[in-house]
Structure formats: C-alpha cells, structure tokens
Symmetry: C2
Subunit: 337 residues, 2 copies
C-alpha cells in the first residue's frame, strides 16, 4: 500500500536564530512522522520589484499555492524605503486575522498561573493604514481606518474559532467611548456576528479597563477580538503574563484558507548560530498550523511533548533559566514523542 | 500674630461615592492642619450653555482663579449630545498632562512588590481629537493629531518632573515603527527636550514591548511619557499592577500652573451613600495637589498616614478585603497624623 502523498507547506526559516529553530521544527516533525514536506524559502538579498521588498515573488507564490506556511523571525533591513517584511506578508497574502493562544505553561512559573486565553487581532487596517501626512509645519495626522468588511471578517473568525475550540466567551476590545465612529463600527460588526452565535457569551470591554483586568485577573478572559493596534498591544501584554514572546504561538489567517504561522519574537542576532536559541515559539506556532490542517492528533502529540519537556525542567534553554542547547532541548522533545 | 491666609482650592465632590470620599479628604486635611480653604462646586443638573456641558461656568472660573483643584468621580449623564465631563474639563482648562504616580503599597500584596513609576500622558490631542467621519458606507476614519507644540510641552513637563522628583530615567512610549509621522514627531520632540537634561537617561520603547516589559518586570521603568491613548492604556495597566484605580493618584496639569487632581475610578453608584467607599485614590490625589503647591511637609505627613493605615491592615475598606467603613478608615488615618 502506498503512503498518502505529503502535504506541502512553505517554510521561511528567517534571519538570526531563525534557521536553527527551523531545524528544530523539522526534526520534531520528522520524529512525530507528520506528513509534511517543507518548501524552504529565504528572504532575498535585494528588492524583488514584484513584491517591492526583500521577499521573493516565488516565496509568496509558494504560500499561495500551499495555503499553509511557517515563518521564523525576519529582520527588516535598516534603511529608507524598505517595507517591513512582516507587513508586506500581511498585505500581499491578505492575512486578516492574527491568532495568539496564550496559556500558562505547566511547570514554568510566572506571576500568573491560570492564563488560558486567545487574542484575535484584525491584521490589515486600523492604525496600520499607512496613511499619514503633515497638515502644516508641526501638525501631523495619522488615519485610522475601520471597515465593515474587515471587522465582520475578523469577528466571524473569532466566533467561529470560539465555537470550534470549545471556548465560551468572546470579548470585543475597543475605545468606542472616544472613537465612536471607528471603534463604534467595529463593535457594531461584532454585535451582528454575536447574534449568530447565541451559545457564545459576548461582551465589550474598553481597552484601558481590559489591560487593568488582564494584569489583575487574566482568568476573566477567554477569546478577545480587537482592531489592529489594540491587538498588537494586548497580545504582547498577554505573552508577558506567561513568560514572553519566546513561549507563545502565533498564526495569521488569510482569505482562501491560508494560514501562516510565525514566531513573533525577534531574530536575536547576538545569539544566532550559537545553538542557544529557544525554539518553543516556532514549535508551538507550527502546532497551530497542524490544527489548521486538521491534523489534530499530531498537533496534540507535539504540543504535549513540548510542554512536558519544559515542565520536567531538565532540558531548558538559557532564556528559561536552564543551560540546554537548542539541539539538546529538541532531542528531549523528540524523546517525549 | 495673624495666621497666613489660607490657600483657596476648588473641590468637585462629584457623583456617586464622590461626596463621601470628599468628606474624608476634608477631615484628613483639617486634622493635618493644611492651610486650604475649599470652594465646593457640584455638577449642574442642566447644560450650561457657556460650557456646553453639565459643568457650570462658575466652577471652571473657580479652578482658573484658584489654580488648584481636586475632583471626585463624575458620571457623565447618559444620552446623546452630552460632552463627557472629564473631557470637557481637560479641554476647557487646557489640562495638557496627566500625571499618575504608581507604586506598590507597603503591606498590600499584589503580584508585584517593586513598582515605583510615574506615567505622564499627553492629555489634549492624539487619538482624542474627536475628528472622525464616514468616507463611504462601511468605511470610517478617525484622525490622530500630533503637534510639535503639545509634544514639546508634555516632554518638557516629564523631564522637569523627573529632575525635580529625583527620578533618573524617562522612557518615551510610541509606535513610530508604524506611525512614523505622528509618533515620529512625538519622539523627535522628546529627543529635543532630552538634550537639555543630560542628567536624565532617555530611552524609547515601543508600546507593545513596553506592555510586555511592564507585566514581566515593572521595576525597569521610572518615568514614562507618551501620547494620549497610550497613556490611557498604560496608566490603567500600571494601576492594575498595584491594586487598581481605587489606590492610585492622578493629577492633571494645565497651562498657567493649573493643577486639577482627580480620583480616576468610577462613581460606584451601587455602594454610594453606604459609607463603604475607599477614599484612598482621592486622598492620594489630594497629596499630589499639595506637592504641586509645594506644601511638601503636609504632603509627606498625609501620605505616610494613609500608607501606614493601609499597611497596618486593621482598618481597610471592603475593596481591600477589610470591613471598615469610609469614616472608620478616615479616622484611622487621622489617628496616624
Ligand atoms: C514589528 C511590528 C511591525 C509588528 C506590528 O506592529 O504588528 C509586531 O509588533 C507584531 O506584533 O507582529
Ligand atoms: C472616561 C474616559 C473618557 C477617560 C479617557 O479615556 O481618558 C478615562 O479612561 C481616563 O483615563 O480618564
């Protein structure tokens, strides 16, 4: 009997520690016998005129074709006129929702031990419109754009996510008491979608109050959905509650079923190539990609192996207070499979 | 010998629990022999055409004349066309900086025990411009306005505050990697002012990273200065680290030396009139008013009495897990004077 043909997925190892932690993912996937074949793409060393960035057209075509991908940290080259690689990917692939599950890792102590929430960020508009100008000398404006289409789309994603992931509540985060038109439209769209999901509790929380509640009692929250900038802020705050960006997964959802999972931490050039990097964020992001592919068994298997390795505490990288190398930590995970 | 004539200060007891906690301040000030004479003003029950709000013209004139004031919580009447009372005060009195000292209260345990920072928020522009419109059906815009004048003014206040309060570092919080023009101008102004204060360390921190650092290790921060909305978010986040808005002081600084201190918590109508409210936030805000008046001895005396009463733990209101009434807690503070 012939094995089913593997699923193709695009892999951007990225810069700095990216290639090392990408190797870790490849090894763990191999050990877990995940039926995935990686198409590796690197950021180019000159601007591709078709993407207006260092991202090659071929790499974007690869994601569009495969519909799934995994991305390590990318350092946008310094200098004028370079579009951020992250923003280019969001725009070119229309990655409209950024999903970040955030939970306390068993055995890894922070000040919080009962975090279990998911932030869902609108990823294409709002304060990220890029529309800014000087009105007169000394007076500048930025435009925040909220559309009904993008708000409904991300709200729909959030409620569908809640329903299919056994979550009970969706909180829409806003500042509609000040931005009545923009955040008001966002809320209106969330309310419309909420009506279609009577089994999910819906609430609205003002962003300042939300941040205070998150640091006082994060267990109050389940799924949070919000405009772009609030999502940027709150997803990092939440990552901080459980240990930081090195430990949290992120996945970008695009139209036509595209999912591009990514480690949102930096490329850490200071430790690059030294076998010191913690691959957890990229590994957990890869797990969200497996769930998107409905490979639930493999996803559980790998997630458990990662969490058990961290919980045991014998093999931890330096950022978690241990002294393991990237490769030893990876081997330990494979040993748990 | 005749006693020096008292300093006049405006007092807005406000709504809900406001009047009760204002009584607490008056009693503590009397017991501490603070040479202040209060001019009390209440929010009106109809719109004053000269302020376009429920605030009376006389009350604003009182603050303008006295240059100092203290304000309890004000509930903006629900309904269309009512300007928020808080926003009206900021606008009418040109309250350009909101200052919130935030520190761990000895003896009152939260997850954090080493917080000691001050947030300084630009309070007049940014995302609070009120300029919004619908472009076409389903597409709305809000304008964020940043001006050189307001940015320099708040930066100047922040560095001056740091210098005169024995603080060592000012962190400017921004998202200039996305809003290059608006937040870029804000940073440019901060840098200009920083050059005049070589003894103060200056740094720039992106808001998402700032929120993550705040929940991981707030001791990294000293004075934070930022545009309006970031200040709204971060000041509440910081209050959450040490127990919430019921325990933190706030003071608004205006042109011409005006200072309007305020409790930023809500009016808590559910417990109003029941002698249950915690007056700490209003008391500590009143202390910032005393410092503004350079009545440093009285400020220290009263602050110590408040903190010692809370630290002892014998008299605490219900929100702090105790069962004291507002009046018993107030008496205990007076007993410490
Ligand atoms: C690097 C930056 C442009 C980006 C953002 O602001 O979205 C980052 O903070 C993120 O959350 O992915
Ligand atoms: C009530 C609201 C308008 C206000 C604000 O957003 O500024 C409040 O959150 C504050 O911080 O004083």
């Amino acid at each position: 009997s012939s094995a089913p043909s593997p699923i193709k997925a695009t892999l951007f190892p990225g810069d700095g520690i990216g290639p090392e932690i990408a190797v870790s993912v490849k090894q763990v996937f191999q050990a877990a016998e995940v039926p995935i074949e990686w198409e590796e793409h690197y950021v180019g060393d000159q601007i591709d005129p078709r993407t207006q960035s260092f991202l090659t057209w071929e790499s974007l075509e690869s994601v569009r074709r495969n519909r799934v991908g995994l991305k390590g940290p990318m350092a946008t080259p310094v200098g004028k006129g370079h579009r951020s690689l992250n923003l280019t990917l969001r725009k070119e692939l229309n990655l409209y929702a950024n999903v970040r599950p955030c939970y306390s890792l068993p055995g890894y102590k922070t000040r919080y031990d009962n975090v279990n929430l998911v932030t869902i960020r609108e990823n294409t508009e709002g304060e990220y419109s890029g529309l800014e100008h000087q009105v007169v000398r000394g007076v500048v404006e930025s435009l925040k754009i909220i559309t009904r289409q993008a708000s409904l789309r991300v709200a729909e994603y959030a409620f569908h996510y809640a329903k299919t992931h056994g979550r009970e509540r969706v909180s829409a985060i806003h500042k509609a008491n000040i931005m009545q038109k923009t955040d008001g439209l966002f809320l209106k769209c969330c309310r419309e979608v909420a009506e279609k999901y009577p089994e999910i509790t819906y609430e609205e929380v003002v962003i300042d109050n939300c941040c205070m509640m998150l640091v006082k009692n994060p267990a109050l929250f389940d799924v949070l959905v919000m405009p772009n900038l609030y999502g940027d802020i709150i997803s990092d705050l939440c990552a901080g509650l459980v240990g930081g960006l090195g430990l949290t997964a992120s996945c970008n959802i695009g139209e036509a079923g595209i999912a591009l999972a990514e480690a949102v931490h930096g490329s850490a050039p200071d430790i690059a190539g030294k076998n010191l990097a913690n691959p957890t964020a990229l590994l957990l992001s890869a797990v969200t990609m497996l769930r998107h592919l409905e490979l639930y068994d493999k996803a559980e298997l790998i997630q458990d192996a990662i969490l058990n390795t961290i919980a045991e505490g014998k093999y931890r990288t330096a950022d978690l207070g241990g002294s393991s190398s990237t490769t030893d930590f990876t081997k330990a995970i494979c040993g748990h499979l």
